[in-house]
Subunit: 266 residues, 2 copies
DNA sequence: AAACATGTTCCAATAAATGGAATAGTGTTT
DNA sequence: AAACACTATTCCATTTATTGGAACATGTTT
């Protein structure tokens, strides 16, 4: 007989001492200003001795660096780890050529995003030649409810999972067009499921529009989507409509290649 | 009284159980093919029970994902962590505009690299418009002895540290031009120190040349360098020479801004 | 120089990791 | 289809690292 555990108690997953140290790392990285020991102490709610050792370990592993003023900043180890994580990601590898094609077809910025928890993580990006800022977005997370990729991706989820996710979202109004609550998002998702296309009509950032399409990857493995994004002054709403075919076609191509990659038997 | 500890015993740093789990993560990420449990078991040299729990922790923390076939692949958590690490890196932030300028001046790929242990980690990159492959290189590591950035960076080290680093290098011949041993590298470093410029004359990859300059950041904090890289068919050795002024000028600019960033009092 | 804030070290109590072995699960061969 | 080999997972007494309160440094302000 199943012990009736609380379904929402996901953070209760015990990852031992490792998880605790990782939480400290997360905390330091999340801060938007370098923290000193006392700051971390306050935020972490951990005894001095314990925290001190944890930070020491993080530093000697190269995940954090402690500056001359005692402030903790991210170390290079993370970049190294992430590079391998990124370059080996087979889903990204499969999608990459298609992203390039989509970029060539539209001339605008193309994103590949994957659902992780309640957020979208940008896994890859192809940018226009004017903006020469490297992999800036890769690894960045955005909320699902106000991005094209987000809405496209969660439209793939089975009803139960979608509802569970909806209940965890804290809706923040970023622009006048931002969807305000779960009901609005639920309605939008219904449309996305029908049309196979999601839009972002300046819902996340004023002056930014995008078209997105879910990637039906068969197995539930990666819940993902792609998008074409551009400035509102250049991209009309009509233009988005005209691109929707290309975008969903591209998403279909990625899905096809991905299934091939998993092996023909599966 | 200083306890006479073995200077070379760096890996002996005890990072407790955290370090052990991290080592497992490193191992899985380093493999060039997805590993299953038995593979990791073999490589990690750790008892079954222990390893199993470690992998379980890594998975529930999202650092690894276990596929349907039981193979372990990198999770998205790493990307998220690394993004914050990268976007907040103040040294990179300071350097970025200068990298863009250098790219504009030369039209070729520009790199920013930082010394980490015995390797160079690429921290940022500005690429030519033709190659639209996103942040591919960021986080990648290269050996110091066969890259312009590597040679430029270690030229900044004090003699003792340089020698210590030299002794750890395993020289692998990548091309006919690769420096073959510590003596050759030592000689080259002497030149770099005098001229303030390092070259890579197809020493790492055939058909690839580069000019690099060390960033004299004052405090020993980041041992770093920048470079301009291009294909040999387009970039003559003379061209590299002609760029050396611009490159070292750019490195000086970054160093200046970095010192300003640390605060005028320091 | 005293009071204070911050960072580091110490060590008995405690909780977690360890690792050998038994068990369960998977797919392959006869 | 049964036996087999291989792999993954669970179990639990032992060992070890973590815990956390408090004492000790260190540097800064009043």
């Amino acid at each position: 007989m199943e012990p009736v555990t609380d379904e929402t108690a996901q953070p209760a997953t015990d990852t031992g001492t490792f998880g605790k140290v990782l939480a400290v790392l997360d905390l330091v990285l999340s801060a938007d200003t370098p923290l000193r020991f006392k700051d971390v102490l306050q935020l972490a709610g951990q005894p001095r001795g314990t925290l001190h050792r944890q930070l020491t370990h993080l530093v000697s592993e190269g995940l954090l660096v402690v500056g001359a003023d005692g402030s903790y900043t991210p170390g290079l180890r993370l970049l190294r780890l992430a590079h391998r994580s990124w370059s080996q990601n087979s889903f990204r590898t499969v999608a990459a050529p298609h992203l390039l094609r989509l970029h060539a077809a539209t001339g605008e910025t193309v994103h590949l995003g994957v659902l992780s928890g309640s957020d979208i993580v940008y896994v890859d990006k192809v940018e226009g030649q004017q903006t020469v800022r490297m992999g800036s977005q890769v690894g960045k997370t955005s909320p699902v409810y106000c991005t094209g990729i987000g809405k496209a991706a969660i439209a793939l989820l089975p009803e139960a999972e979608l509802e569970r996710l909806l209940s965890t979202i804290r809706f923040v109004r970023h622009t006048p067009a931002t969807l305000a609550d779960a009901a609005a998002l639920r309605a939008e998702i219904a449309t996305v499921r029908q049309s196979g296309i999601a839009f972002d009509r300046e819902e996340h950032e004023e002056g930014i529009r995008c078209v997105a399409a879910p990637i039906r990857a068969g197995g539930k493995e990666p819940v993902a989507a792609i998008s074409v994004t551009g400035p509102a002054y250049r991209i009309s709403v009509d233009q988005l409509d005209r691109w929707s075919e290309v975008v969903s076609g591209c998403a279909a191509d990625i899905a096809r290649d991905w299934r091939l990659c998993l092996g023909p038997g599966r």
